[in-house]
Every structure is written in C-alpha cells, then in structure tokens.
C-alpha cells in the first residue's frame, strides 16, 4: 500500500483519462475534469498521461482528482508525487509543498490539501499510478454508475491506495517541474470558447447575443456531470405545434438527441448547463453551443461564484486550440528544477 486516506476531503475520486467508447450504452467517458492538470501530474512523476481525451483508446495512469478542499493522505511507502491543478495550499508534514513539480515523499509523511485559493480541482499523481481494477478498460471513477475507482465511489477515511510499479527510478524524477511559463492561472474571470450549435437556430437571435455578451456566474449546483451558470433568461423562436406533444410543453424541449461532452443545454431558457465528463449522452433540451474540448478544463476549474464569458469560435479554431493543449502535455514541457 502506498497511501492511507486520512480525510477524503469534499469529493475525491480516482481518475485516469477515462473510458470513451460506450456512449451508445449511456456510459459517460468520465476521466479528469481538467485534462491538462492530470496529464501534467502524471508526466511529472514519469507516468503515462494517456492517449487522447474523449477520443483516445489508452487511458494512461490514474491519479486523484480532489474538489475544493480537505484531502489528507498518509504515505505508507516511499514514492514521488506531483500536485497540479487548483491551488489548495498543499502541505507536506505541515510545510507548504510546491505544485507542478515532482516531490519525493517518505513513509509516514502526511500530504494535506487545505482550502482552494484558485481553481476547483487539484490533481495528485504518484509514480506508477494508482492501482485499482479497470472497468471497461479504465480506472476512472463514475459515482453515478457505481464503476471505476474504489468500488465506484469517492474516497473516504480509512481507504488505502496502492500504486503500480514505478516506470522510472524515483531518484530520476525528484527534480522535474513544469516550465514556469506553462503553469496555468485559474480565474477568477474565465473566457471559455464555444462552437455555436447544434440548436442555436431554436433561440432568438438576441438571446444568442445575450449568451455571448453577458457575464455568467457558476452556480454551486455544479459537479462532474454538469456545470450550471446563472445569468439572464434566454428565449426561443416559435416552434411547430407537433413538438409540444412529441418533445414536451416547454419551448426548450426537443426530441432527445446527442449531448456531447461540453454541450450547453438551456432547460426552460434558464441557467445554461455545460454537460461535463460524467454527463448524459442523450437529452431533450435545446443546446445553444458546445464548449471546445481544449477549454473543458477551464469549466472544470471554475469555482462557484466566478464569472465566465463565452466566446464563439469556429471548429477550425477549436482544433488548433486542442493541438496546442495536447502539444503541451509532453516531455518538452518539463525541466529539471
């Protein structure tokens, strides 16, 4: 065993890059809410960051995703860890420990996350990766489907975690860190890029403008399934009568169709919801736009109360942003401290 959980924190789950490939059964991909942060945590400790988010076949090694505050671990066997993502003022035996770099820890050490100062989700990787059984090819936890991770649930006090054998000698890893210019800053104001559609044509033109120009505040009713934004009401064009019976009485109702990860539903025209990695694959509300895959991590790192502006881009621009993001999850981003 490598770690004992002293405190599971608000909500900590084991995540690798997830299990795409089962959307036709309603099984969401899961995986990290912030692909960059988990990928870098894994790379820093010599692990496999996985192949590709949402479309890959190799989920890479598993780490921990810890929401907002409170995770506390005791080290049971020497290893190298890296803490990335949200800054929850991590400490090692009570002393601040630097983020975005590999840190050697010894038996008996206590790693603790305090309370977030920026960002929502902190990632912790350990050399070799967290070892739990794979479900449908992945270790990613989905608490709603009761699969992956530790018995398909969040971590709690008393759990023990083992790691797989390290791929590289621990001594080689200890000085690795992310290039300082690549360390992301998290909010408090966010600019999230979207591709309009698939149902933007059901909204009034002025509502599309409102969506793109207004400030949207993340609601505390947000999780890995969906992130809800508070702002002005959006309105819909008149629609044919047959949809009242077939799709539902609310003007936002459509006959169910595909929801992509990042799809933005607007039930009742109120509080757009960005569906995330544990979200549904199918749904009956009009979707105004889709968050580009490169910016899903920004949604995952937004804290309740923080303000987001949505900015429309083309699919070409979205793919260019994805190339940049994926390109940065590589050995070239890492230097010796």
């Amino acid at each position: 065993m490598t770690f004992e959980v002293l405190d599971g924190g608000l909500h900590t789950t084991i995540q690798d890059l997830g299990r795409p490939g089962y959307l036709a059964t309603g099984m969401p991909p899961s995986g990290p809410a912030d692909r960059f942060a988990l990928g870098l945590a894994n790379l820093l400790v010599g692990n496999d960051p996985g192949e590709r988010y949402l479309v890959g076949r190799r989920p890479g090694d598993a780490g921990l995703e810890a929401l907002l505050f409170g995770l506390k671990l005791r080290v049971l066997a020497e290893t190298v860890i890296a803490v990335t993502g949200a800054d929850q003022a991590p400490t090692l035996n009570g002393e601040p420990v630097p983020m975005w770099r590999a840190v050697r820890v010894a038996r008996g050490d206590v790693i603790a996350l305090q309370r977030t100062r920026s960002g929502a989700r902190t990632y912790l990787a350990a050399s070799g990766g967290i070892d739990v059984p794979c479900f449908s090819g992945s270790r990613a936890t989905n608490v709603r489907a009761f699969v992956g991770g530790l018995d398909g649930r969040a971590l709690r006090r008393g759990d023990t975690l083992r790691t797989r054998p390290a791929g590289r000698p621990l001594a080689d890893l200890a000085r690795r860190r992310l290039r300082p210019e690549l360390v992301p800053s998290y909010g408090p104001r966010w600019r999230v890029r979207v591709v309009l559609g698939p149902q933007d044509d059901l909204f009034l033109e002025e509502s599309i403008r409102t969506f793109l120009e207004h400030d949207w505040t993340l609601s505390p009713i947000s999780d890995r399934m969906g992130c809800r934004y508070v702002g002005p009401a959006l309105a819909f064009r008149p629609r044919p009568e047959y949809l009242v019976e077939q799709a539902g009485a609310d003007p936002s109702n459509i006959v169910d169709d595909t929801i992509p990860v990042g799809g933005i539903q607007v039930p009742g025209g109120l509080e757009p919801i960005v569906l995330h990695v544990d979200g549904p694959s199918l749904g009956g509300y009009a979707k105004i736009a889709t968050v580009i895959s490169a910016d899903l991590g920004k949604v995952g790192q937004t804290r309740p109360g923080e303000v987001t502006n949505f900015h429309a881009v083309s699919t070409g621009e979205a793919v260019a942003a994805l190339r940049e993001l994926e390109g940065a999850i590589s050995e070239g981003s890492i230097v010796a401290a």
Binding site: T25, R52, V55, F146, L243, I254, V255, T290, T315, V319
Partner: protein, 271 residues
C-alpha cells in the same frame, strides 16, 4: 418534420450530428440505424464511436485524424449509397413488470401526484386494466439508449396501442430504480434511482444495468438495452415479482432474449 436531406451539425470539435428530422417518428430511427450499420460496415478512420438517437446519429471523431469537413463528405457518400432498409437484426426482450407497484405509488404520493396509473387511465379514457393491457399488448421498439447507463426510450410498434402521457410539470426529486415509465408515447426506464419527470407505470424485478456483469445476459457489457431491441412487457403480480427478484439477486434468472430479424414496415404499411 422529416428532412429530405440530412442536416449535419457540429457539436464542438470532437462530435457532429447527422440529423434526419426534428420529430418523433420510427422511420427516422430506422434511417439512423441504417446509417450506423453502414458506418460499421465501412469504418472511417478517425471515427471513434457513434450515438444512436430517435432522429439523429451522433458521431465522435478524432479531428487530428480526419477534419470535420472531410468527415461530413465521407458520411454523405456513405449515406447516399445506403439503400432503403427492409430488415434489421433485432432482439426480442421480455420484461416482466409489476404494474401499479407500491414503490411507484409511494413515489408519486411523495411528490404530490395522484397514482400515475389512475391518472393515465383518466387521461386515455380507459380503466387501469385497459392501460396495462394496452401497454403490454404491443412490442416497443428501443429507439435510443442513453441519458444514464441503460436508460432507454422505446416506441410502441402498434400505433393503436399508443398511450399518451404528459411529463410531470415539476420533475420528481427521486424515482426508485427499476421503474418503467412513460411520457408522450415513449416508454422509458430508471436503471438507478434518479430524478425524473415521466409517469410511473410499474417496477420490473430485472436489472437492465449490472456493473458486476454476474448474469450471462451481461456477458457483452453492463448495459442490456440496445437500440433496435423490441421489448415485450409482461404484467406480473406481487408473488411472481418476488420470485423473479430472488432469481435475479442470486444470478440464476434466465433473461428471455431472442435474436430475430425485424421486417421494417414500409410507408405503405401505415405510419
């Protein structure tokens, strides 16, 4: 509305949707299934998975392997070469249901709603017995699977056996697992306890989602329902419910699943 030509819509950079119409109509679902089968027969490099819905096919792809524009062009070619669909592989799945079970009653009452079967009877101008006979008197075509694992939507194959039901005006905070439900003409299912707004018909002792995959029916995966399945709902009483439930819990229940070929009704056969 059924479109003459499919509409291709982007869903961000990793997905697109091929939409055949905006309405609920089995003929659209058959086109979705036909296109999905054609894409499987002729895989396009870069396409990683597909999502079948009532009226559209979601396509997930790696944009580093194939561009959105190129993918649309390839699917258009394949779609153009896909002839009319006359037969589909289809499993006939029997699902026993305790209609009007006590959990459904309790759940409706807890949300301030009348017993849903009584409500459906009044709305469809039938007795409760007729509601049950109508719902169990036709096969239901599974036209979409999703929302949550093993949640599905199914349409009655015999239009004369269609019930109508509005969704709850205010969705329920919870619904017990394994409840069979209906809204519009669509039968659906809550595999795990979850919020929801469909009218509650009854409870099945069967698991349709089993992450432990203990029963051989789950050999291929944890989710039983598939688009293109035909469900037959068989009314059972309390004694039979518990008998089956015990067999399901011990992993000995034999699911009734028959692989068959389904002849797709033509437009001339009626709606």
């Amino acid at each position: 509305m059924r479109y003459d030509r499919a509409i291709y819509r982007p869903l961000g950079d990793l997905y697109l949707t091929v939409e055949f119409g905006d309405e609920l109509n089995l003929s659209l679902n058959f086109r979705v299934i036909a296109l999905d089968l054609a894409l499987r027969a002729c895989p396009i490099p870069g396409v990683t998975e597909t999502i079948l819905t009532n009226r559209s096919l979601g396509v997930v792809f790696d944009p580093f392997t194939i561009t959105h524009e190129r993918l649309v062009a390839r699917i258009e070619e394949i779609e153009a070469a896909t002839g009319a669909i006359t037969e589909l592989p289809s499993r006939r799945v029997t699902i026993p249901v305790w209609y009007g079970d006590p959990w459904s009653r309790e759940c409706a009452a807890a949300h301030g709603a009348p017993h849903n079967l009584d409500y459906l009877a009044e709305l469809n101008r039938m007795t409760v017995d007729q509601v049950i006979r109508t719902h169990s008197g036709t096969e239901h075509w599974v036209s979409a699977v999703g929302f949550t694992p093993a949640c599905y939507q199914a349409m009655p194959l015999d239009p004369a056996k269609a019930l109508t039901a509005p969704k709850y005006l205010r969705p329920r905070k919870w619904t017990p697992e394994r409840i069979v439900c209906i809204a519009g003409q669509l039968t659906s299912f809550y595999p795990v306890a979850s919020p929801g707004g469909y009218q509650l018909l009854g409870r099945t002792p069967l698991e349709l989602y089993d992450p432990t995959q203990r029963n051989p029916a789950f050999r291929d995966g944890p989710v039983l329902p598939r688009v293109g399945d035909r469900h037959t709902y068989v009314p059972i009483d309390e004694a039979r419910y518990w008998e089956i439930r015990r067999q399901v819990e011990t992993g000995t229940y034999q699911y009734e699943i028959r692989e068959e070929t389904f002849r797709v009704p033509t437009e001339r056969d009626g709606p």
